[in-house]
Amino acid sequence: MKIVYFAWVRERVGKTDETVEPPASVRTVAELVAWLKDRGEEYAFAFENSAAIRAAIDRVHVKPDTALAGAREIAFFPPMTGG
């Protein structure tokens, strides 16, 4: 699955996007975050405060307990500050 990062999440992870293959046990957005945090310091730093992370699946906002099943593109970013 493709993951995209924005704003300071992107800066901390150090990349704009990547393709990952998490194990089948990773079923929700929150579980994906936990799995990513174990991949290295930059991920641990980016996701250190999970309350400050927002997620979207296929360009629609989702909650942490949302299932990943069928997702093509998952995005992680801080709270939005547009407008």
């Binding site: 704003a7 979207a56 360009r59 629609v60 949302t66 939005m80 500050t81 547009g82 407008g83």
Partner: protein, 160 residues
């Protein structure tokens, strides 16, 4: 019917409003909102701001909120133009135009759209303060403003 555009370039309020009204005599009220980059003062002074966005999702998310506004109020036209990239104090950031037969609907829809753009549209501002580039933090007042409009859950779109 709605016009939704993301662009680096500035927008022209009068031209957008003219296009919305062209050939119509049923519109009684047009509300425009222009959001502008503020310079700040003293320790809050900024020299520039950069708007990052999530291409694709930004348009879709705005379109979802426009559709919600169109279901909620009898609107005759909606325009949303949001800029991205680097802006300096005094530059326009965002334009919302709503047209309706009656002013209450146009005002409510414009304010609704702005409250949602602030907290739900995938844009992130960073400010240049001296040598530093600082990400703007979520504004509690903006979050509360968006919450005013919440109606019963609408599934995924209502998440967060």
């Amino acid at each position: 019917m709605a016009v939704i555009r993301l662009q680096r370039e500035d927008f022209d309020i009068a031209a957008e409003q003219r296009a919305l009204l062209r050939g119509r005599t049923d519109v009684g009220a047009v509300v425009t909102f222009t959001g502008i980059c503020r310079g700040g003062e003293g320790t809050d002074a900024i020299s520039a701001m950069t708007l990052e966005h999530y291409p694709g999702m930004a348009e879709e998310e705005i379109a979802r909120h426009v559709a919600t506004a169109e279901r909620r109020w009898p609107l005759q036209g909606v325009v949303v133009v949001h800029r991205y990239g680097r802006l300096t104090p005094g530059d326009n950031i965002v334009l919302v135009i709503t047209a309706a037969a009656h002013r209450g609907d146009a005002f409510a829809a414009a304010e609704f759209l702005m409250d949602y753009l602030k907290t739900r549209a995938p844009f992130w501002k960073s400010e240049e303060r001296g040598e530093q580039k600082i990400w703007v933090e979520e504004n509690a007042a903006d979050a509360a403003a968006a919450d005013r409009w919440i109606t019963p859950a609408r599934g995924r779109q209502a998440a967060e």
